[in-house]
Subunit: 337 residues, 2 copies
DNA sequence: AACATCGCTGGAAGCGCTTCCAGTTTACCT
DNA sequence: AGGTAAACTGGAAGCGCTTCCAGCGATGTT
């Protein structure tokens, strides 16, 4: 089956010959360049149609020094982490935005050392026109690699130790503040928080939002435990908080997974949610609807993140100077608070 | 910041010159081709090191007619569907396998007509060396597009109306049989099934497995309702089954999401699971552990699927003739049955 | 009628690499 | 020492496209 037509794709030379013009003329009509007469254009266009011509990507790339490909690099130690729906949503956003262009998406899971060196190589061999980076921890070597390659680069979320020139991030600070203020508005005062890893900017920003809201309201930040954005981490943190501050009446969890873990522990401990203790999460990527009770949470639009990153990268590649953006977050009310 | 070093990457010519040899000689050492003296190799290698030379991907691609890129195309009407953890797992598998090669991964969400035509174009312009296809429904236009392009192609899961020459699939039939047999072994006899869409091969295969197991055991397939692999679909199907066959004592759901929907309806209807009615799902991609009670389900290794597809494609590109594979599935016991 | 101006054209020189081929050197046999 | 085969070498021709440039005839200006 699948008779592999060995028939070669026609080349520009062949098209030009058939149209009775020079190769440069043919190239001009294909690229919609000026200086081509009506007659020439028509002839070339007919030849193209008749021969089913399509310009060879590689050849064009070599001549223009543009591959028409952008990379999305996801850096993390654990490949499993990629299974987080977060990334799928980013990809959906990126893809949607790319569809408006004629760029294609190269996906790099740069976890292992091998993956990282493959990426480095890709950048230095000019395999892509630009790159989007996600999930960088601390001082990820990727940042240096990318900087050294001198390629247009945009960051999704900010790395911890430096502020990239071009990035798009969710308003983590504002979202966390929103969540905390809501709990305060509910009349809760002994509000604790389970943070994300404090070695990440997200983790820190969301924690800061909590603190700021508390202090602004004249409350003292009641207690903090560090989580790691996972359900297990959330459960562990909740246990220790319940131990140290048994009279807590609300918890702001830095992610929905964290909140899910906390929820489980609370219920097991006989607390009723939200009556006894109110819980608010962060992310709203599906988990929030599936917990029991469903989570009140801070929604961030991850698809928008992907879309904005892409738009920004496209601008950059075109030689413009976009400015970084912070995407708004909003509170979504469900049953846990 | 990020001082974009405008310094051009050195070219092979420059390396050759510095090493005092011809460009062809230099090329030979880079490609580890035979017929190069020790002296030449050393000289070239030193030059490479000193200049930090890396061969330009595009130029090489043009000369060799190989891009070093393979595509993974996901076809579906709804972009949101990509958020299903299934795809993330495939990608993890694919990436892991690619890491052993020097191929890179191009991801195509070919949902819209625009996405599809972009993909067509990519294939015809020789933008990739091969392609992996997933989530094809019925007679997806993609199959024709791909066949016409005459590129190495492997399928993940079988499309409905034709058997591709190269594919890898999970043993859906066997898995469904396993699940049903287990329910039978439990002493249940009024076992119903909620299928996937019967317009897909997966849906059909899993349904067939159920029927076969029932008949082999001398039971009559008690009742069937068509679902669509979603939780909502599962819930709807469960409701109608409960109406028409209120005495059912077990259900085999063709996916975990389906099972989750069914579970909810059963509990709401006052049935206790598994005491009153036993439930088995299919997939085991996370949801199964998060339902209440946790689902007994048929596990398929989606990462392995990705890995095998990749291996197969790599073989194909190398000019070999791999043979298709069916990956085993296994029953995972939890609390719902 | 003479001149500058403009749009259009094809030739040619790349882009950076691989690979064929003929020529040269070296090594090996007898 | 002479002859042959093998190992090595660099020149040159691609891969398929873009783009600069000089040349061309057809307009527009005084």
């Amino acid at each position: 089956m699948a008779a592999q037509r060995p028939r070669r794709q026609p080349t520009l030379d062949e098209v030009a010959e058939r149209a009775g013009v020079s190769r440069s003329a043919a190239s001009r009509v294909i690229n919609k360049a000026p200086h081509v007469s009506r007659a020439t254009r028509d002839a070339v266009e007919r030849a193209i149609k008749e021969m089913g011509y399509l310009p060879n990507r590689t050849a064009r790339a070599l001549a223009t020094q543009q591959t028409g490909i952008v990379a999305l690099a996801v850096s993390h130690d654990d490949p499993e982490l990629f299974a987080d729906p977060f990334f799928a949503q980013v990809i959906v956003g990126v893809s949607a935005a790319l569809e408006e262009t004629d760029l294609h998406l190269l996906l790099c899971l740069a976890s292992s050392g091998r993956g990282r060196s493959r990426l480095t190589n890709l950048l230095h061999t000019r395999g892509v026109d630009g790159i989007m980076l996600m999930a960088l921890h601390g001082d990820d070597p990727l940042t240096h690699i990318v900087r050294r390659a001198g390629l247009p680069a945009v960051y999704g979320g900010r790395p911890l130790n430096f502020e990239p020139q071009w990035y798009v991030d969710s308003d983590n600070l504002g979202g966390a503040r929103l969540a905390t203020e809501y709990l305060i508005g509910l009349g809760r005062t002994r509000i604790v928080t389970i943070t994300g890893p404090m070695s990440s900017d997200v983790g820190r920003a969301r924690h800061r939002g909590y603190r700021e809201a508390m202090i602004m309201a004249g409350l003292i930040p009641y207690a903090t435990a560090e989580g790691d954005f996972t359900e297990a981490g959330g459960a562990a943190a909740m246990k220790s908080l319940l131990d140290s501050h048994p009279d807590l009446d609300a918890v702001f969890a830095a992610s929905d997974n964290t909140a899910a873990g906390a929820l489980r522990v609370l219920i097991d401990a006989g607390r009723s949610v939200p009556a006894n203790v109110a819980v608010v999460g962060f992310d709203d990527l599906g988990t929030a609807e599936r917990t029991d009770p469903p989570l009140t949470t801070v929604h961030q639009s991850v698809q928008a993140l992907g879309r904005e990153m892409t738009r920004m990268l496209v601008e950059l590649i075109a030689g413009h100077e976009p400015s970084s953006v912070i995407l708004p977050t909003k509170l979504v009310l469900r049953d846990s608070a």
